[in-house]
Amino acid sequence: MTEHHSTDVDHGHADGLPEHKLRRTDVFPRAEKRAVRQVAAMFGLSAIAGIGTIAAFFAFPADRLITVPALGQMSAQNVVVGGLMGVSILLIGLGAIHWARKLMPDHELVQERHDLDSTYADRKAAIDEFWSGAEASGFINRKIIRRSLLGAMALFPLPIIVLFKDLGPMPGTSLRHTIWKAGEQIVTDPQERPIRPEDIPVGGLVNAMPVSLRKLQDKQGNSNEGVKSVIVLVRMRPDEIVAQQGKNWDYQGIVAYSKVCTHLGCPISLYEHRTHHLLCPCHQSTFDLADAGKVVFGPAARRMPQLPITVDADGYLVAAADFAEPVGPSFWELG
């Protein structure tokens, strides 16, 4: 390429631009040659790293691990292939920028800005065109056509919106119930072992679920019921229980509460047995299980629903009924 930054553009100082400073590469042929070599070296190394990337891709199986100092164990594929590929890509960029900075003309150019607004006449003509078109269409005078069109246009999106109706069923009362019912056995989560009251020490917490949950979920192919029905069982000395949501809903100091946060639905199992506080890891809502699950801190507004429990004929813990209050986050129709 020849020098292109000729007279028409190079009027730097005359425009009040700062004086153009010569670079070393402009003055010393040796510096210029060195810069050329540097740029070419970067591009050359990039090509080599690119070929290295391909070689490494085939050399390392996907599951080989290597230990990288300071970073620990990592996938060899990832480190070597990624490293070489990164270097290869980076060098193209660095080379191009070095080339531009050291060797391409660095004279600042000045260009005029054109005004964005058109001439008054053009603008007026555009406005006139619009109105004469609107006039000619009759949109302005023919009121009936205009109004009926506007009406049709207003309705036009509605059928399309309605077509989305079958995306899902209506909520109905499904947010108010869970699969818990009187006599539903309480089993540990995830081992699914039935629980006797003696199994839970005072101060202890057991994650639990309804015995029929797994089968139902496998049948339905989703975890919709599990999301609502998981609970925690905690045992305290009966005299520690300040209040419950129903009379005798505990069994010998064992109380069962939903573990679905009433704020935004995170499952909770951080329990502080001295204070009987259940702490949600998502936004730190804290519920007092000794005091009817009431909110003691955080953004949750509703208390944690309690599940009434008792034991069956064989002495295993079972639910005495479904929750009396909806489980999980609030919703508009909750009331």
Partner: protein, 571 residues
């Protein structure tokens, strides 16, 4: 070689015959682009988006957007035999069995972080320099929309793998949707195909993530760049730069080489980072199961402030007529605050020009100090965002510094109202003092650090006039008179109906321009120039050695750095 030259020549000709493109090329190959490091921020966003497209398409070839349950049997032994969704299993497959898969996943995730981070910082640059002013208001709105769609796209993206973290995030999102008055429950059931989590959502989200939102983003980016191209870039003030010109480097070759090269730099760094730094190790979180949650886990950084707002909110919930529930504890932080914030940001160009009365076209950027109120509003907003973001990390703060949650939350509940106004006040003062310094520089020149002892025994410092470049930058400041208040009533005592709004506007305008230090007048500048000239040639001897031994005077320590005066004044 000449074959290539001929080839290119005839290609340009071929295209011109059909598209008459030569005129466009002639005009634009030398199109001038101003140069400044901060103009690269938008470029980083653009390049990250391109990287997202490339890596995203690669991921679609291996990722299975399905919630069908499978038993994992891949090479990550810890999860062998575990039931999980196909989505999660295919993400493990990408990470452990597809060569280069983990790299692409990590490139995709790092690029997503860069995309949103660079948009945010780019937006700050545009804000603080006033680049959003006429004629660029519409592009500011497009930029705001890009930030919003970027955040949504990122959230959709990291929800796809169906790991424990993404499942928890989706559950929270579902709870937020459900808290929407009137429509929430229905919308949630339609989105999820029934109760949460259902069987459909990942597949639906996938379409949103790989088609809908990227298409929207692409359209917005196209509009954004076309406007930048057509309106031409703004430029910082400097000698020779005016509202009527653009000073910079030509598209061909310098800008093309620099910008093109910079794409490879961004891509290369993203790749290196992805090779060396693990991001979103979903295999450690495990598959989503509805009764588990990872304690102390954090969403991507751009969600942190929303999460923080939700955490900070007191638990207000209103029961309406015993039939309906208004979840203010969720609506305020998750809908109202972001809604107001983004609306305020999008409308800011019009709000500002209404208050200032400034309807002129601006191509020269403001120095942030010269718009103290705007700058202070920006810093105040960042402080507000920062408080929310801190709140999003309250569990990390709590465990790192062993402070109880309650304390942190209560401190932040007050701080969110106190810190942003404080930041506003401090920033505004700081800007004004910078203005005052500029003013002094124009009148009294730059302090050289050289001390002069007068025959009377008095010490003064020699001042030299500042460089032309610096003067041009300082003189770019435009002083504007606040809008005058309309008369409350006319000469006949009739009340002016437009008076109330007008007076509010005038008050705001006074507030906006209030703390301005006007540039010196031409006469003052003239006098200053003469004075400096005189001082430079002052016949009084400069006391070099003695002054070097720290002379205390006038409350400060005077120091002479030596005859060159270069290293002066940075004690």
């Amino acid at each position: 070689m000449s074959a290539i030259v001929d080839g290119i020549d005839s290609t340009i000709g071929y295209a011109d015959d059909r598209l008459s493109s030569a005129g466009f090329l002639k005009r634009n190959l030398k199109k001038v682009f101003p140069d400044h490091w901060s103009f690269m921020l938008g470029e980083i966003a653009l390049y990250s988006f391109i990287i997202l497209l490339i890596s995203g398409v690669y991921l679609t070839l291996f990722f299975k957007p399905s919630m069908t349950e499978v038993v994992y049997n891949g090479s990550y032994t810890i999860l062998k035999g575990v039931k999980m969704s196909e989505a999660f299993a295919s993400t493990l497959n990408i990470s452990f069995d597809v060569r280069g898969g983990l790299l692409m996943r990590q490139i995709h995730h790092w690029a997503a972080l860069f995309f949103i981070a660079s948009i945010s910082v780019h937006m700050c640059r545009v804000f603080f320099t006033g680049a959003f002013r006429k004629p660029r208001e519409l592009n500011w709105v497009v930029g705001t929309l890009l930030l919003i769609t970027g955040i949504l796209e990122g959230f959709a993206g990291y929800s796809l793998p169906d790991d424990l973290l993404s499942g928890t995030g989706l559950r929270i999102a579902e709870g937020i949707v459900q808290a929407t008055p009137i429509l929430g429950t229905y919308v949630s059931f339609l989105l999820f195909g029934g109760p949460f989590p259902g069987n459909d959502f990942i597949a639906r989200l996938y379409t949103v993530h790989v088609l809908l939102v990227p298409g929207l983003i692409l359209a917005l980016i196209t509009a954004h760049l076309m406007m930048v191209w057509y309106q031409k870039h703004t430029q910082f003030p400097g000698p020779g730069r005016t509202e009527k010109n653009v000073v910079g480097y030509p598209l061909m070759p310098v800008y093309m080489a620099k910008a093109g090269g910079f794409f490879f730099v961004v891509f290369g760094i993203t790749t290196l980072l992805s090779a060396l730094v693990t991001i979103n190790p979903v295999w450690m979180y495990g598959p989503y199961v509805p009764d588990q949650v990872t304690a102390g886990s954090q969403p991507d950084f751009y969600i942190g402030w929303l999460d923080g707002a939700v955490r900070l909110m007191p638990n207000w919930e209103i029961n309406l007529w015993h039939h309906y529930t208004l979840s203010l504890n969720i609506m305020i932080p998750a809908m109202i605050i972001p809604g107001l914030l983004f609306t305020g940001i999008a409308l800011f160009p019009w709000l500002e020009s209404w208050v200032t009365g400034d309807k002129r076209v601006h191509h020269i950027l403001d120095r942030p100090r010269n718009a103290p109120t705007r700058t202070a509003l920006g810093v105040g907003t960042i402080a507000f965002y920062g408080m929310l973001w801190l709140s999003g990390g309250n569990d990390i703060i709590a465990t790192t510094f062993t402070i109880p949650f309650n304390t942190i939350t209560w401190v932040l509940r007050f701080a969110i109202f106190i810190v942003p106004p404080l930041a506003f006040i401090v920033t505004r003062r700081f800007c004004v003092s910078l203005q005052r310094r500029d003013h002094d520089k124009l009148l009294h020149g730059r302090e050289t650090g050289r001390i002069l002892r007068h025959p009377s025994g008095e010490f003064t410092e020699i001042h030299a006039s500042i460089s032309d470049a610096e003067r041009a930058v300082i003189m770019s400041k435009q002083d504007i008179i606040p809008i005058a208040s309309p008369l409350a009533s006319d000469a006949h005592g009739v009340r002016n109906p437009a008076g109330v709004i007008g007076r509010v506007r005038a008050g705001l305008s006074r507030f906006y321009y209030g703390p301005n230090i006007a540039l010196p007048t031409a006469a003052e500048l003239e006098a200053a120039a003469t004075h400096l000239e005189h001082e430079a040639h002052s016949a009084v001897p400069v006391i070099e050695r003695e002054a070097r031994l720290e002379v205390t005077g006038g409350g400060g320590v005077l120091r002479d750095p030596g005859p060159d005066g270069q290293s002066g004044h940075n004690h």
